[in-house]
């Protein structure tokens, strides 16, 4: 019988289009909209550029490859120069980079005439321009670093440059002699270095940095969606709670409660059916939103079991709150109004609107009175805060205890209104 009541209530919820919007559609809008506004994921922050390699030398190819490897910052494509210009004008691309012919030959710092890389970008995009210049400089210097790290390659490069200097008529004689002298000394210095690559003394090497692998602590959100999805879940729960609180009053006003009371079921079974339906709806909304967040918006689930605990305890809490809210008024309008009033206030101070981490310290203290704070904390604990089981206990315990107390008080008041 409990199952029959729960099934009936879920069916009624499913068929109520407005309620479905507030429980699922609206939260998804909130999560996606605010997630996108506040920066979204790192993938969304990539700068799209096109590279036009007119040189096609090993050196230019290495530069393109280095840029492609910067996957966290750049999204590199290869198109024609004309297409690249069009796409930059349309805003499809942020910029294009032209590697001119002769880059491989004239990119050496000792070269008499250096080839210039061309960056095509809207002058208004000053921030991206500076960022791209930094990335390009880093990529070009990596080439020099590699050259210094490989004596054989360096010697070849110096010999080639010496020939170019000697043949270049644009240099004044004293200047040419100074440069050739410098090249001679540099060549002598490099020849004193063993050419074996990979040996302890092989070439000039960058400072040795040891990378120590360390497990990700997940102590900060990787994207705005990891903040907005727990908030959206709260809005979904508020929608479910308000809808079910109203349905309990509706049972009374439309007379079906009378039939339920006359039927051979106990009042406890009747309320258990309602609670079961509300619990299933709360859990369903949370699972649906989390699944969407994880699959589409790459929200991390750092611990599935703990997330299950957070979902279950949040659902218990909000079922209890639903029961209490359902007795706040005698009409559907009264309950709807008071429910939204109470829940929106709880959401405001509990982090449902402004993220907890963005609140001032005193506000974070005040937010402890709101169940929304504990639900968000529990969900974030399992999503990105990297909580252990022990750390999950306080928020989950608060939620469960609050849920039980609210349900008991609500059920008592509901029974008191029998006549």
């Amino acid at each position: 019988m409990i199952l029959a009541i729960a099934q009936k209530d879920l069916k009624l919820l499913w068929r109520d289009k407005a309620a479905m919007f507030w429980t699922l559609g609206f939260p998804i809008l909130i999560a996606v909209l605010f997630g996108s506004i506040f920066g979204g994921s790192s993938a969304a922050a990539k700068i799209k550029i096109a590279v036009i390699d007119q040189d096609q030398s090993p050196k230019s190819e290495r530069l393109v490859e280095r840029l492609r490897q910067k996957t966290d910052a750049l999204d590199v494509s290869t198109v024609t120069l004309e297409d690249a210009k069009n796409q930059v004008r349309k805003g499809v691309l942020v910029a294009y980079l032209v590697i001119p012919s002769g880059y491989g030959e004239h990119s050496n710092p000792f070269a008499a005439s250096q080839s210039k890389l061309v960056l095509g970008i809207d002058p208004k995009r000053s921030a991206e321009q500076g960022y791209l210049k930094g990335i390009l400089t880093e990529a070009v210097f990596q080439e020099l670093q590699e050259m210094f790290s490989h004596p054989t390659q360096f010697r070849t490069e110096i010999a080639q440059q010496r020939k170019l200097i000697e043949a270049d008529p644009s240099f004044a004689k004293p200047e040419k002699q100074k440069l050739l002298k410098f090249m001679e000394q540099a060549e002598a210095f490099v020849q004193s270095i063993p050419s074996t690559q990979g040996s302890r003394n092989g070439g000039l090497r960058p400072p040795a940095i040891e990378v120590q692998p360390l497990g990700e602590t997940a102590s900060s959100p990787k994207s705005a969606f990891e903040i907005t999805f727990p908030q959206a879940i709260i809005w979904g729960l508020l929608g479910v709670v308000t809808t079910f609180a109203i349905t309990i009053v509706k049972e009374r006003t439309q007379g079906t409660l009378l039939r339920l009371r006359v039927a051979p079921i106990t009042p406890a079974s009747m309320l258990a059916g309602k609670a079961a339906a509300c619990f299933a709806a709360c859990a369903g909304v949370m699972v649906a939103l989390l699944a969407l967040g994880a699959i589409v918006f790459h929200v991390r689930i750092s611990h599935v079991t703990l997330l299950g605990l957070a979902v279950a305890s949040s659902a218990i809490c909000f079922v209890g709150i639903m029961m209490l809210l359902s007795v706040l008024g005698r009409t559907e309008n009264a309950v709807a109004g008071s429910s939204w009033g109470v829940l929106v206030f709880c959401s405001m101070i509990g982090g449902g609107m402004v993220p907890l981490m963005a609140m001032p310290a005193w506000m974070q203290q005040v937010s402890a009175v709101s169940p929304v704070k504990w639900a968000i904390l529990a969900l974030e604990g399992a999503i990105w805060r990297g909580f252990s089981f022990v750390e999950m206990l306080p928020p989950c315990s608060v939620l469960i205890v609050l849920g039980i107390v609210c349900f008991a008080v609500g059920a008592k008041l509901f029974q008191a209104r029998k006549d």
Binding site: K8, G255, T256, R259, P264
Partner: protein, 289 residues
């Protein structure tokens, strides 16, 4: 059998039910007739266990009152206001209320089909109730109270706001229930319904049960005199009357006396007292006041 003794129920200063006592035999249809606010619905509410009496006792089928789960299984209740789910279909409503009474499997399927047939909604079984007319909703409301095949049925003004076609449908359903020897308590403020359907009638007003008996006995005891109008073929009596009107407690005997005098009677009209008159005589006001 239903036995009600000294039932009392007050809502604040208003005494809704005051020392009401009556008995209903097994298979009998008992009508509670009275105007709005007479206390009929409160009495039914107490009988079905939806409300608690301040004092008094109710015994149904000799096994206690409706607080008992076993008794509740025997009871079918059709409330005055519609008590069905608008967003469920007719079939889903019947199925849900059947499930509440512990039905399942083929029994539930059969009873749901019977309920749809009873309410004349077989063709609309899969349509949401929200799309139904008022009469269709009323018929479904009745069927939902009967889906579990109860032996004791409480019908609280089941025809309020119903079109004549649906009203007849409901009457036919109740007559079928009478044929199946169900015990029925039927509240109404329409005397025609009470006259047509009920074996015995209790007249209620302001929380009091004023009289309980069969229709004929009530009329005889409380209806007062009948109005007799005789039209003569020829002038009659010392004044040469062609029409004579008078009131009588035994109208047919008096008409027979005129006939025995050898007078030719052209027409005889007897207006017998009805429940309206009974109610008027008992309360000093009409049912529709």
């Amino acid at each position: 059998m239903i036995k009600v003794s000294n039932l009392r129920k007050a809502f604040g200063p208003i005494q809704a039910v005051d020392e009401v006592s009556f008995e209903v035999a097994k298979g009998e249809t008992f009508g509670l007739l009275g105007p709005n606010g007479a206390g009929k619905t409160t009495t039914i509410g107490i009988l079905v266990g939806a409300q608690t009496a301040d004092s008094g006792t109710v015994e149904i089928e000799g096994a206690g009152d409706a607080r008992s789960r076993q008794i509740r299984k025997l009871i079918g209740f059709v409330p005055q206001s519609l008590a069905i789910y608008d967003e469920l279909t007719a079939e889903e409503n019947l199925k849900f209320f059947g499930l509440l009474y512990g039905m399942g499997g083929s029994e539930l399927r059969d009873r749901v089909a019977a309920g749809l047939d009873l309410s004349g909604l077989t063709d609309r079984a899969h349509d949401r109730v929200a799309t139904f007319s008022g009469g269709m909703k009323r018929r479904l409301n009745l069927a939902c109270g009967l889906v579990h095949r109860p032996s004791v049925i409480f019908l609280d003004e089941p025809t309020v706001g119903v079109d004549p076609q649906s009203r007849n449908h409901i009457f036919e359903t109740i007559e079928q229930l009478k044929d199946h020897k169900c015990t029925i308590i039927y509240t109404t403020h329409y005397m025609e319904e009470a006259s047509r359907l009920c074996d015995r009638i209790g007249i209620m007003d302001k929380g009091h049960l004023l009289a309980v008996d069969t229709l004929d006995s009530l009329v005889d005891k409380c209806g007062g005199e009948s109005t007799v109008k005789i039209e003569f073929a020829k002038p009659f009596g010392a004044h040469g009357e062609l029409v004579k009107s008078f009131k009588s407690r035994s109208p047919f005997e008096e008409v027979a006396q005129f006939a025995s005098l050898g007078t030719e009677l052209k027409a005889v009209h007897v207006e017998r007292a009805d429940l309206e008159t009974v109610f008027l005589n008992l309360t000093g006001r009409t049912l529709r006041d």
